[in-house]
């Protein structure tokens, strides 16, 4: 395509005919490029509006949740975090007013078991996922030939792309029974009765519980950490690595002295991001946890309820509460969950305060 070459070097008034592409504004001060079309301003404003929308949606989401939850915050107070019972009360009795908020007779909500369950399953997931993802990324970057590492990349994408309900299905129908019949009895029997390990002893149930949920969450969190670690490891300067090898270090020592300091911040950021994902995961945990209300999990095999799982399974029944208190309490729970996930997310990104936008993946790590 040809463009008329026309650079007079100083602004000139437009030729009377007005043909050809418009030049700079003839009355503009030299050196200042002003928008030449009205449409350019429109483009700028349009895209600015679009860029504001995600942030506005986030704010709107939080505000809507807050508005919905305010009566529950007032009614439940901060005892919400320490009480253990989840009692919707009797909808068939006349409602009562407690703490200035109307609620069904006998309603009392406590989120302590849910918070414990969520944190415990996420902790198990991170304890498994972080070393596994790190080790995998190491071996992919350093040992595998290029072709295989591409296949591995696709494997990671596959892992990140499988919907969480499918993972939940696998956990409930395959992994859970497998663990309950073949793995957990063995572990429960053979571990010594030491205080720390007592969490691994107990009745193994039918497969739904903390261990199964932790494992399936680990599988879902690994792609985020592994893909970020792999990308970061590829950026470690080769010169420094080769120098370390030249000094006679084994691979492990090279990793410890060169790679880890280089990628440490990024990997920690990715781990915190993964933690945020594990905290907020809904369907897989709802299917793998047994969704139990009111009991704090005692050992690693007991069923529990996670905050997200409880919201998804109790929302419908909460809507039958004509005073609205149950739904507002779920909004309160959702607010706590949102705060946890956002904190993890913000923390991760503050940790990796780089200008480069390739530092951390968004969301799932695909």
């Amino acid at each position: 395509m040809t463009v008329p070459v026309e650079s007079p070097g100083r602004p000139v008034p437009p030729a009377p005919g007005g043909q050809g592409p418009p030049g700079p504004r003839w009355d503009a001060a030299p050196g200042v490029i002003r928008p030449r079309h009205d449409t350019e301003g429109m483009v700028r404003w349009g895209t600015r509006l679009a860029a504001l929308l995600p942030g506005a949606a986030l704010v709107g989401l939080t505000v809507a949740l807050l508005i919905e939850a305010l009566p529950a915050i007032q009614g439940n107070g901060f005892g919400f975090f320490t009480r253990t019972t989840w009692d919707p009360g009797n909808f068939y009795n006349p409602p009562v007013v407690v703490n200035g908020v109307t609620r069904p007779d006998g309603a009392s909500y406590g989120a302590f078991p849910l918070i414990v369950g969520t944190l415990a399953s996420s902790a198990i997931a991170m304890a498994i996922a972080v070393p596994v993802a790190f080790g995998t990324a190491m071996i992919v970057v350093h040992k595998l030939p290029r072709r295989l590492s591409n296949t591995f990349g696709m494997l990671l994408e596959m892992l990140a792309g499988i919907p969480s309900v499918v993972f939940g299905l696998w956990a409930a129908l395959t992994l859970g029974p497998f663990l309950a019949h073949h793995v957990s009895p063995f572990i429960s029997r053979s571990l010594p009765d030491v205080p720390v390990l007592r969490y691994f002893k107990g009745p193994v149930g039918s497969g739904e519980g903390l261990l199964t949920s932790g494992l399936v969450l680990a599988v879902m969190v690994v792609p985020i950490i592994a893909s970020t670690t792999r990308d970061l490891l590829r950026q470690v300067p080769r010169g420094t690595q080769e120098g370390a090898v030249a000094l006679g270090m084994t691979d492990l020592e090279v990793v410890r002295t060169v790679s880890i300091p280089w990628v440490r911040t990024g990997v920690i950021g990715a781990c915190v991001l993964g933690l945020g994902r594990a905290l907020g995961e809904t369907m897989a945990v709802a299917m793998a946890s047994g969704t139990v209300l009111g009991t704090v999990p005692r050992n690693v095999y007991s069923t529990f309820g996670s905050m997200a799982g409880v919201i998804v399974s109790q929302l419908d029944s909460a809507l039958t509460d004509a005073t609205g208190f149950a739904v507002e309490t779920l909004a309160y729970l959702g607010l706590v969950l949102l705060a946890m996930s956002l904190l993890a997310n913000i923390g991760a990104r503050l940790l990796v305060r780089r200008a480069s936008t390739t530092a951390l993946p968004v969301g799932r790590g695909i």
């Binding site: 928008p35 895209t47 600015r48 679009a50 492990l252 995961e281 969301g363």
Partner: protein, 315 residues
């Protein structure tokens, strides 16, 4: 450059370092073999970690394919759901409609947002907008579904509807497209922009014709990622799209729509064989769709890379 005194033994990475060190190296030999053993243990652990990632993937995929293909009838793809049996035609059609809708909305909003962040935004202020978008991606899906139900379905009286589903899903996946667009645009060399400015192109024209074109593969990949996530979501759709046995209609409001993740969540623990079959087949279709999108994304990247390589040949 200073030289080492003559006779200094330089450490080497030779396989028999004890010979290089000479006599009296028992301690060093032990330390070296301890280091080697640590190294071997380390790589063993890494290999185990690799297996720990590969095994679940293969296990899940094999399980999904196996249970999905057991008692396979092609009628599952051509009949609609009736109660807990029938087929999945309504769910497949509904998922496709939802995905296309999300792609359109998110394509417009996300790409425009990414363009702003990459091209027009002054350096400092972009951080807040970008951060808001990235943090939005960390919001749990059930919270989005809850807010969507309480505001869109009930308070705005949209009912279970395609519109509510599209709004909630778009809010959920727009950060991916924004980020992908911004990253792709930033990877286009500034020389392109400077050149088009020097040639006198208006910036909108330059954006469209010069800058966006090489960024397109990354943008399309981001769109595909967004669509893949939209396909796999359940919690938001449960409370905004509802469920319907019928094929999708043109009504945007007050008409629930089917989607593939519903049968998996709802039918997996029903004591009916037909329900289990629907759940298994729906899981299989979801995995196939995810795989398809990954493959399409990779093809696009490979094709455009090859194109840009051939087109960058001097002419």
């Amino acid at each position: 450059m200073a030289t080492l005194p003559a006779g200094t033994a330089l450490p080497t990475a030779s396989p028999h370092p004890e010979r290089a060190f000479g006599a009296g190296t028992t301690v060093r030999r032990r330390r070296w073999s301890r280091r080697r053993m640590a190294n071997a243990v380390y790589w063993g652990a890494c290999a185990a970690a690799l297996a720990g990632v590969a095994v679940p993937v293969v296990w899940v995929l094999a399980g999904v394919v196996n249970s999905g293909l057991r008692d396979w009838h092609w009628s599952v793809l051509t009949t609609q759901t009736v109660g807990t049996g029938g087929g999945l035609l309504n769910a497949i059609a509904g998922t496709l409609v939802i995905v296309v809708g999300v792609a359109v909305i998110v394509g417009i909003v996300g790409i425009a947002g990414g363009i702003y962040l990459a091209e027009f935004c002054p350096e400092g202020r972009g951080g807040l907008l970008r951060g808001g978008s990235e943090i939005l991606s960390g919001a749990p899906s059930i919270v989005l579904g809850y807010v969507g139900y309480v505001t869109l379905v009930v308070r705005f009286h949209w009912g279970f509807s395609l519109a509510a589903a599209l709004v909630v899903l778009s809010v959920m996946v727009v950060p991916y497209v924004v980020k992908a667009t911004e990253v792709s645009l930033r990877s286009v060399p500034t020389a392109y922009r400077d050149g088009s400015e020097a040639l006198g192109m208006p910036s909108g024209y330059a954006l469209r014709r010069v800058v966006l074109r090489p960024a397109l593969p990354g943008i399309v990949t981001g769109l595909i990622v967004a669509m893949a996530i939209a396909v796999g979501e359940t919690a938001p759709l449960l409370y905004t799209a509802g469920w319907s046995n019928n094929l999708p209609t043109t009504h945007l409001f007050h008409a629930p729509i089917a989607y593939l993740t519903y049968p998996v969540w709802t039918f997996y623990n029903q004591p009916y064989a037909s329900a289990h079959r629907l759940a298994a087949v729906a899981a299989l279709l979801l995995v196939v769709l995810a795989l398809l999108m990954i493959v399409v994304g990779r093809i696009i990247v490979a094709v455009t890379q090859r194109q840009s390589e051939t087109s960058s040949a001097p002419h």
